[in-house]
Symmetry: C2
Subunit: 292 residues, 2 copies
């Protein structure tokens, strides 16, 4: 059985022009929960001036239901964010490291090595606070600035993160450039390197490979897939890029392996489009209502 | 190395409202050829009253370049169509059989068994005319009317068609309902049943699985993939359904395995959109030009 991490409240909303109210974010999280999501990325604890969509991170966490069987995740890019996340009472910290120096500087002001050093300090903070932490390796399949990313570098980062004691490692195709054959190779390589540590994958659907990459990753041993209701999101460094792979499309493709409520996800996607004033639709949205 | 059959001039155009001129069809075929396609489905020899988009089948074939290394395919659903196709001088006949009685009656006035009997007679006509013939099993993964289609029935049809001496068997997900895991199973099952006969696959992207299914089919041993420039097409029995999986999306996803000219395909897709007055775009069209 595969696990979904619903990332629309964070990676989805973060790249949409419309800033959703805290109330709407909580409604989105409630819809994802009702559809069967058991891990949800709810906020990013970053500089509100740089990412105004995430300015209400603490308010979102304060409004979350407790003890409903759902793990709520907050993303952090540095110690300041980690301190805020821990103080907010969030269930789990998601640390973002970068496989490319140039992207790392642009995204979070850190080289690849600096992002690993940051991860070490944040894992220590999380341990101190008795809060689980996992780590995502961003641009693991390609960088929007420098192009190719060496799989050996990604493997070395995964080994380093595993040694730090993170509970899970994610490989992220931040810009949606990966092909299934590359996904199969990198997931297999990293899985062999980190032993029993669970592997999560994160795909964007920029070039139509999101679903195929998720399927390839699962076949290669990934146990958790990030996806966003309605395929929300995008990438500020790739104009016109599609967003995250849509939760409803991944759920349809994986079938019995990922048994969430497809109809509830599609309903949530249409609702979210309404709130965001956006008309882009996922394949399942089109298939369900016959619109384009 | 995987082979592409470009189906936009037939399955793509057949389901678009705008009827393209013969001249435009020939321009589309020339663009597909220039992009590297070496097999192209150029027409369907069916009743022009039922499918006005294909009424100029003979004129299209008459206008094709000869001896340019491209195999041009004409679809036939009965002996009358086969006689027309042979008379036109087309390179290869594509016979359509159906895995579901109800769909067969609706699509071509034949039950599944009647479509096999038709295939037997058409293969004999093609042999007589020294023209190669291949066969597609339509709705092999699911029927829009009755739902499930028994894989055992598809396997039995494939065995029967192989015994008739067709040069290739295709499994078609006519309505875009298949999941990758089902594709892996059915392609493997049919491959085991038909021995060395090449297997082609045909997917529609209705539920966002087109690329993932193509990748799964290739991994399971299919050697040829149908796709349409721009993801043209649809299905008259599934309102709002997306069209064929887009050639440019399949070419991107398969990478080195399917080395066609991606830029030429995207250019052709935008050109075709202009001719059809349609704005739907494939993932690679969006990624290339930053539009939605």
């Amino acid at each position: 059985m595969i696990e979904l991490v619903e990332v629309s409240p964070r990676d989805g909303l973060q790249n949409e022009k419309t800033v959703l109210s805290t109330e709407d974010k909580l409604a989105l999280i409630a819809r994802a929960t009702a559809a069967g999501a058991r891990r949800i990325e709810v906020a990013s604890f970053v500089n509100p001036k740089r990412v105004p969509q995430m300015a209400d991170a603490e308010a979102v966490v304060a409004g979350l239901p407790r003890d409903n069987g759902v793990t709520h995740i907050g993303l952090v890019l540095n110690e300041r964010g980690a301190a805020r996340a821990i103080a907010s009472g969030i269930d789990e910290l998601g640390i973002v490291c970068v496989a490319s120096d140039r992207f790392g500087i642009a995204n979070q002001g850190q080289s690849s090595e600096e992002s690993l050093a940051m991860a070490m300090r944040v894992v220590a903070m999380a341990e101190e606070a008795q809060r689980p932490a996992q780590a995502t390796i961003a641009v693991a399949f390609g960088c929007p600035i420098t192009g190719q990313v060496d799989p050996a570098r990604v493997e070395a980062m995964a080994r380093a993160l595993a040694a730090l004691g993170v509970r899970e490692i994610a490989l992220a195709d931040t810009i949606g450039v990966a092909r299934p054959v590359e996904v199969t190779k990198l997931v297999s390589q990293v899985k062999a390197a980190v032993g029993s540590l669970p592997i999560r994958v994160h795909f964007h659907d920029t070039r139509g490979t999101g679903v195929a990459n998720a399927v390839a990753a699962v076949a290669a041993g990934a146990v958790t897939v990030d996806a966003a209701i309605g395929g929300t999101g995008g990438c500020p460094f790739a104009p016109g890029a599609a967003g995250n792979v849509a939760s409803e499309d991944v759920v349809y493709a994986l079938g019995d392996q990922l048994p969430l409520d497809l109809e509830a996800l599609v309903d949530a996607a249409y609702w979210l489009n309404g709130r965001l004033g956006r008309s882009r639709t996922s394949a399942l949205m089109r298939a369900s209502r016959g619109t384009e």
